[in-house]
Assembly symmetry: C2
Homo-oligomer: 211 residues x 2
């Protein structure tokens, strides 16, 4: 089968297996030695995690909150997580006071860890640490965030207007990735944002954007 036919077949598979803008068909997990591909696979395939901020109300405690996120349209992830938050909720309020934050995502709910424990190092997990920033709501970036989020989280478009939800993003400064035995994988933000496309699983994930 030629490359074009293979790409068409993959595209068709992704198209028929999408549900609510998310994939039902999970592209194969990258080689754990490829830290950038593993990290991008995990962040792009998942669509919720725990967003952590510093809570002044709770004496400076680290405060985790379950959030939905998106790093782009399905198959066209950028690696940068966007959020749709209201300052009725403490996370957005905390971030507007102190923008230190992290987003933590587990492979476990994707169903690809088999019978392994969620803390088993081969069941991957990532914590992106950086600054949680309000996006200019009139910008092109806000429009990108809207499409990225609403495609994977369709009910967001119906969330109450008077709650004043706004788009935020995490500006990543540090990456903590565990995807195998032997401790966290060295991975710079630059490597994460511009991964080499040398992994078939990750390539499949990005086919849609190339077509």
């Amino acid at each position: 089968m030629g490359m074009k036919a293979f790409i068409c077949l993959m595209w068709l598979l992704m198209w028929v297996s999408q549900s609510k803008g998310r994939l039902l068909f999970i592209p194969s997990k990258p080689d754990p030695n490829d830290a950038a591909a593993s990290a991008r696979w995990l962040v792009s395939l998942n669509f919720w995690g725990v967003l952590n901020t510093i809570s002044a109300d709770l004496g400076g405690a680290p405060f985790g909150n379950v959030v939905s996120y998106s790093d782009g349209l399905t198959g066209a992830g950028t690696g940068i997580p966007y959020f749709y938050l209201t300052s009725l909720d403490p996370t957005a309020r905390n971030a507007l006071e102190n923008d230190k934050a992290s987003l933590t995502v587990s492979e476990y709910p994707l169903g690809t860890c088999g019978t392994k424990d969620p803390m088993n190092p081969t069941c991957s997990k990532i914590s992106l640490t950086g600054k949680l920033k309000l996006v200019d709501q009139q910008s092109k970036e806000a429009e990108f965030a809207r499409k990225a989020l609403f495609s994977k989280h369709p009910e967001m478009k119906d969330w109450p207007k008077n709650h004043n939800f706004q788009f935020f993003k995490l500006e990543i400064e540090n990456i903590f990735l565990i995807d195998w035995f032997g401790g966290p994988k060295p991975l710079t933000v630059e490597q994460y944002l511009h991964p080499k496309m040398n992994n078939v699983g990750f390539l499949v994930l990005n086919l849609q954007s190339a077509l």
Copy 2:
């Protein structure tokens, strides 16, 4: 059917539906108006979450990490989460320097949120904030933690001895619970630790400890 027969039937159902010390049969979700029962249901049924600490290495950023936990044997949860951590991992190191912490758990991976988004307020989520403390490893409490954790996470007993895993617990000081529309539910630590047994779903969950 008499109460004894009902209890026996429930006990039998739980016994046959256990897998690795976790329940395959999910006791029905408590009435969202019963904040204590909802919180205890969520913490006892789930077995992993994100544990947040303050990272001195990352300039005081809140650092979330995927962890396995247990609040007791299946059906006999106490509400207090225990962990099995190694200081090879930043979370335990952070806690030994600064014990401010929170544990965040989502209902979403239990599969009981249906088609709702993970951020939909009726898909419940909880953040327990407090202090992450090392348990005296020779104490009865450590023995309790061992049974609680190893029953729900059987592979823990085979984790490398030379990694020096130790039992920790979260001393809860504040509870943030969303289980319905209308913002976080008022819930004190006292109410959470000693819930009224007035909810059938929660009663079923606790039957095993009563037998």
